[in-house]
Amino acid sequence: MSSLTDKEYLQYSRTMLLNDIGEAGQIAIMNSRVAIIGMGGLGQLVAQYLAAAGVKHLLLIDNDVVDISNLPRQLLYSPADIGLSKVAVAKRALSRSHHGIDIDAVNIQLTAENSRTNQNQVTDKLVETDVVFDCTDNLTSRHVINQICVQHQLLLVSGAISGYQGHVFCLNFADHTTVALSGCYHCLYPSETHVEQNCAQQGVLGPAVGVIASMQALLGLQHICSTLSQYGVWHCFNAKEFSWQQAQMRRDHQCHVCQPLHISAQSEGAVYVTK
């Protein structure tokens, strides 16, 4: 797609009014391909925002089914969907609302145990995407996704929330200099990391999930439009105090996952900075 129809001009006029996005940015959005892994609280909202923004090609990955306990925060699903595959329901609902959208719904889970088969199944699809949104609900899947993104130098937008704490960041593994500075998910949370409680145990408020999902969509859209400057910044949200904190991410010099990209950055003249 290289130009917009009259209807599209009207539909996306508010986006294009932003000077640094304009028509070129909107066309970039409509030509983009994104992957959303995990179609729970975060993923279902990221998908809705991106589809509404004009993204035409979405890869949705999840093996879960809609549960009654999902409904207070997973607004894409209704009571009639309980027991049905989330990706199938999401594909149906988004296709109904957004004409011309192309959705690839993949009903699998990315975990270490089954990851070899499933990775092979989805990696070919992921490498075709401009942005990978990690919206999963467990550390194992997050490490698998991080590894795929590092290996194939993809753009990762990672969001997570539990209780009143939410985290979100964007890493561009195609930019080796940035990786040499900011590292990867494994640098932030090494493999031995464990979470004290998840959403199912600790609880979560729907709008707090929405805040993190909105941030993920915002990061992804701005990357697609080439207006993003927040690579490698860890955004931490406290939904109890309504406060944000930002921190510059740092590569762990012992991290084996992003080591190849670090070496590549060094050969390109980057300087590894650490405290």
Binding site: L42, L188, W234
Partner: protein
């Protein structure tokens, strides 16, 4: 996470520094490593990330990086929910 009990036991010859830990000014033993800081607060090191002066400190450095006077240190629980 509770970080209220941040003052270590005081001995006659120990030097102390003042810093801000999770938004609260505290007095801590000098030359205290980040690992030790977690330990005296009964925080499981494998379930948190640490930010010092707006920079994430990778876990591999927690044993040898020491708290400095006027540092702003934040300890965040790892979250993975979606």
């Amino acid at each position: 996470m509770s970080l209220n009990n941040t003052s270590p036991s005081i001995t006659g010859t120990t030097d102390f520094i003042r810093l801000v830990l999770n938004g609260t000014t505290v007095l801590l033993e000098s030359k205290l490593s980040l690992s030790r800081l977690l330990a005296i607060n009964n925080i499981d090191a494998e379930s948190v990330a640490i930010v010092v002066n707006d920079t994430v400190i990778p876990r591999s450095g927690w044993h040898h990086i020491t708290c400095q006077a006027n540092d702003r240190i934040n300890v965040f629980s790892a979250v993975a929910g979606g």
